[in-house]
């Protein structure tokens, strides 16, 4: 019995993307001639992606091997355990995402200083609190000196 493995899902997503590309390409105006129309090259590569994705889907259905079926409930179960790799992965991604989203709110330098400090304290446990503070100040000062003073860049988020 065929199972819905990760490879199958990847192939289906790629098929969906290629179908969108093909439809969007066909909707672009032709102008002088199909040969130079803005939709031709995207159409060609959309079709290429569709064919390759179908081959990938066929390969993943035919050679499922040791791949387990995708179990979304088990993934969310693992997320609730703060020591699990899934939780740590998600936490890392959210930590960096929050840093990026707060940049326009508080400005680059304050947000970066706090990010480096919290990152050092939380992830690099061997680093002392004082070293973390020095690293945060040093990073912010270094970026300011190099980008703003030396290269006269305006950093305004």
């Amino acid at each position: 019995m065929k199972r819905l493995t990760k490879d199958c899902i990847e192939a289906l997503v790629l098929i969906a993307i290629s179908i969108y590309v093909i439809i969007a390409s066909l909707q672009l105006p032709i102008h002088d001639n199909w040969g130079v129309s803005p939709g031709l090259v995207p159409l060609i590569f959309g079709i290429a992606l569709l064919l390759l994705s179908l081959v990938y889907l066929q390969a993943s259905l035919k050679h499922q091997g040791k791949q387990p079926p995708v179990a979304i409930s088990k993934y969310f179960q693992a997320l609730s355990d703060i020591k699990s790799p899934q939780f740590l992965n998600m936490f890392t991604i959210l930590f960096v995402l929050v840093y990026i989203l707060l940049l326009p709110v508080f400005g680059f330098f304050p947000t970066t200083g706090v990010f480096v400090l919290v990152g050092m304290w939380f992830f690099a446990r061997q680093v002392s609190k004082l070293s973390g503070i020095i690293a945060a100040i040093g990073t912010v000062a270094g970026i300011y000196l190099i980008f703003v003073v030396l290269f006269k860049m305006v950093i305004r988020f």
């Binding site: 130079v36 803005p38 992606l49 390759l52 990938y56 890392t92 840093y99 970066t112 992830f123 990073t139």
Partner: protein, 501 residues
Amino acid sequence: MEGFINALGIMFTPTSLLYVLLGVAAGILGGALPGVSTVMTVALLLPLTYTMPPEMAIMTLCAIQVGATYGGSISASLLNIPGTPASAATAIEGYAITKNGEAKTSVGLGAVSSFVGSVIGIILLITTTPLMVKLAMKFGPWEFFWFSMFGLVICANLSRGSFLKGIIGAVFGIIIALIGLDPIFGEQRFTFGQINLLDGINLVPAMIGLYGMSEVLNNLRLNDEADVAPLDGGRLFPYDIVLKHWLLTIRVSILGFLVGVVPGVGANIASWVGYDHARSGSKNPEKFGVGSYEGLIGSEAANNACVPGSYAPLLALAIPGDNVTAMILGALIIYGVQPGPTFLIQQPHWLYMIALAMLVATIVFVIIGPSCARFFMKSVTMPTPAIMTIVATLCVIGSFAAGQRVFDVYVMFTFGLLGLYMRKNGFPIAPLLLGMVLGNGIVDTNFRRAMLAGDYSIVPFFTRPISLVLMAIVIIMVVMQIRKDFQEKARIKTSTPITPK
């Protein structure tokens, strides 16, 4: 001759020399840092060059690349952790030599081999690029289109992971490159009505995301610390060892250069080609794996000769030889410089300028690299999360500096997530990046030019002699490699049965 004299005038000014020196130092540090590859070092430092004149910017980037390619050998030899993927082969012999009590010889031999490889590569670059330009003058847009397809297929073939996933990545990269306003008619393609996407996806934030941010997201939580071997024993400049194996050094350097010329390949492959060649021709194969000087020479000379090699197709054909030159091509376009066959005829000083920058960078690293290895090692023994936290901030500022837009930072993070997914699921990143670099400027533009030149007929794509040869190679490679992938999967399936949980 005039081009060479112009290049001398540009290269040998105090400002240029200072930037090359700083570029090499920054490159060595970046290359030596585990988790920070050559391409990531160049991507992170690229925004620093925006305010420089184009020639100086490219010379600095070349110096960074040369420094980083060498720098990876320092951590490979002393920590058994390759600083860059191109130093993976070096770690095998370099660390074994260090454990045999010759740490200085290990670091020094890496530097001297890299120096010789780099010099031979530079000589070959100056002599062969004009020949490639002559060949490229026979290329029409049909040939450029098929040559870029050839480069993508080679890149997918030689990247880690399955070929099918590589070629999917390459095609996906081309499609991403087509986002934005069509350059001929100004039609919006795949912009979803977003103003920020009218200019397309900015290449620099995407590259920083794919290589830099994905590494951060993958490694930030790792709480490890590198164990450094003491820098004792042996000699810092063992020229006699390289002289003893002079023929091997020349052979692997030529091999490394040739690998660099093939589009989309790079120093990673070159170092293994050089290492394998040294092992297969060695009179002492039993020493390989336990501290062979020949093995170290093979990998380091080849990977450094590859760097000049990757500039040959870039300058002659505007097709990058590897990921780093893909970034250099992106940088050139940002600075308003379009490489190609007529480019070197009109501005010959670029070839000599890049060669001179690499030569000066090579001389600098062979002096400061081994002498300052102790300093570099102190810098790179910070815990990985500490390094990654700082790299994350450099990713943000680097991608913001590209276009002074917060949107580019979001693009960087999105590509970081994409890169992380690709790393964890066997999709090689290099073909995707190459597809993005070639997609709009080379593939789309040349295809449509070819259609215009051929009176809207696709027949010349299949009938012009060089096009026909390139097309045949591309199709045969794609079919054969996909078949090989299927056979490999079938073999794995029959040898490892499913064990239900």
